[in-house]
Amino acid sequence: MSPQPPRVDRPDVTTAPRPDVSPPQPWALPPIQTQAAPSGPTVHLLDLPGRELVAVAVLVDAPVTAEELAKAGVGTIAARALDEGTENHDGDSFAAALDRIGADWSPRVSFGGTRVTVTVPTEHLEAGLDLLREALLTPTFPARDVARLVGQRRDRLAQELATPAGKANLALRRAAVAPDHRASLPGAGDDATMAALTRDDVVAHHRDVVVGAPVDVVVAGDLSGVDVVALVERHLGELGPATLPPTRPDPLRLQSGPRIVVVDQPGAVQTELRVVRAGPDTHADDRAPTRLLAHVLGGPLTSRLDGVLREERGFTYGVRSSLQTFRRGGLFVLASGSFDTPTTAESLRIIRDVASTLGAQGPTDAEVAGAADYLAGVIPLSLETPQALAATVAGNLGDDLPPGHTTEHLARLRSATPDEVRAAAHDHLLTDDVVVVAVGDAAAIADDLAALDWGEVDLQPAT
């Protein structure tokens, strides 16, 4: 028993009973108008009256799976180099041109494709489209800038690997994913693939993989009074009809568990833990029930894991569960978080116990309802801005889903029954086919982790 505090009364304070909350309204993405521009690209428009910014996302079907494993990251370098030199601008003047119209420029290459997004104040939509045209159609890939981008990527990677989370994420890919699958390496490549990359590789990637691939253009913002399809046609029409077939996704393949990989970080005050197994992909029937399950297990603060590990024991600032998808196939991250070094093995034991108890008994009806209420509410809240909406629609397209799939997914989160979530718990949490990565002080944690008897412990030296 802890001693009771000296009572500090504030009799002057009157409180009221908790107000009632009315039931939620159905939700849908803003209407998406999809049509083909005459020359080829498919245009998806979200008219958002009153918004001050407009986002244009150009999604090219050139995903990381189109890269050879030995050249992993070539697509990312090619995308980052698009604004480093064009027919009209060098890199400096392109950056200045973006600044003059208040533009944000963001290239990204993932399993869904190569996406370049420009976000501008509404009045600069046309200028933004023109810069997109220049970058996508007339890149010059100056040798010096390509080499610099590769060098910066290698330095950046060294930074990521110096953080416990970065180290854990990289080790996790290597430990969990089949070594011949693209997902075993980071989207932007690793040091070895970057070291071997040449300008010729980058030019060839753009020429052979990006140019001619199917293109979707998503435009989200206040489009009133603007013929956006005509504008897209004028500026991006030259991208032309696709001459390459749609890419064929490579379903995720995983290594088997149970296994614990310890990455030594001598003297670390905390251990960074990841616990993963196979998860559903975005097309799977049980994706929505499993997403609800992940929230019950490791959503913020009120979840089963945070309830014990943070709120009861104080071992961590927080632990999360999540689903990661890879166009086809996915990972279920049962737990991800940092734990006080002396409590590492105990924390992992608790994670295992909490997960297997949840697997055996399933979540309660109230937990499922709470998870549905939460996710069905926060997803719309996360889609407030034109950038977020454009990214979501482009993400759906990249997963080979209809552009407005988020509406259906949210309805499915609402309609999933407790029995469906219990079935997902049974399928996903009662298995020992789990890979654990622990980045921490091996001398302090390895023996205790081995004593958990959860598969062999593979000790990797400090790097």
């Binding site: 304070v13 009221a16 208040g102 913020p300 943070r310 940092s338 926060v378 719309p380």
Partner: protein
Amino acid sequence: MPATPVTTTLDNGLRVVVAPDHLVPAVAVELWYDVGSRHEESGRTGFAHLFEHLMFQGSRNVDATGHFAAIQSVGGTLNGTTSFDRTNYYETVPTRAFDLALWLEADRMGTLLDALDQANLDNQRDVVKNERRQRYDNQPYGTAWEELFVILFPEGHPYHHLPIGSMADLDAADLDDVHRFFLAHYSPHNAVLSIAGDVAVDAATEAAGRWFGGITGNPRPPAAPDGAIGPRDGTEVRHSDEAVPAATRYVTWRVPPDGDPVHDAVVVAFEVLTGGGASRLVRRAVREEELAETVSGGTFEMVGGVDVATVVARARSGSDLDDLAAVMEEEVALLAEDEPTEDELVRAVERLRRDRLDTRATLLGRADDHARGVALFGDATWGDRADDRLAAVTPAAVRDAAATWLRPDARAILDYRNVA
């Protein structure tokens, strides 16, 4: 252009600012308390932040974690943060849960101490210590700002320490301290309630009165100690022995606080210097001479008599930190010699305007901006009027601000040279 916010003051002193916006069926609610790490006493560092955690541990009518549970159950998002100048708590909820959000905030503003006991103090102290380990002690460069602020500000200055506080002070916190802290700082007249979203001004203001009206204020807390201080007299360079992935230089200066017209000139100076790919230092150090992997800079937007400006540059592998440091020094010196060009000024102002549009694009961004304006400048439209202030910044003002404040002999510098 979003609607103009409307500010009223309740009888108990709570300032309420409402900005209607019906684009999405949601409301952002923020409680801004005028207490940050600058209000902490020596030996009691980290209290404002520890307290932020305790605010989620329940109150008279709310269980421990009940605040999170209630907001999550309606599909809302929430959090709290602590900075040098303030502590804020916020939630964005579907419109239907607007009253619930106000009720939860009112319950803890009025009755937190009913639920605060040794057990949840001990637990949240452990959580905060793990937060410190995760975000500071176990991250490369994680303690850089902590070390720099110690050099930049003298012992006893309100900005001498960071909000995260020290392990020793956290250990020393007892229930009495925490109770005193609450009674001193958590009170209607020391707070601003900011509401942005799918509500009408009158109805929202009335709701604020309904839920918060029953809380009477404690005595007004003493103002934060005056932090006004000029540029450093002399430069101090410290070397961290931490093993890091790349050599890095952190340079800091004291500059006038946010709200001072000279501060606006400093902000523009840093856009010219480090804002984006075409800025002077990024162009030269990153793109042309390839000495740096990244360069960043700007101000912290502090208001307690002084602000902090900084440039951080991380060396490319194989490049020499001394060469990079020399380029940084030269480019800052040039700012103090010549006025920026008209085009540089246009780009800087356009970038800053863009930042504001991003802030304004979310309900929470707007609620926070209005709360800040009311709490620190007595004006909810303070943020929205930034364009006017920036338009008034002349090329000469930028040069003069650099010459006065960004002097080579007024820096606090931290170098990381121990490359692992």
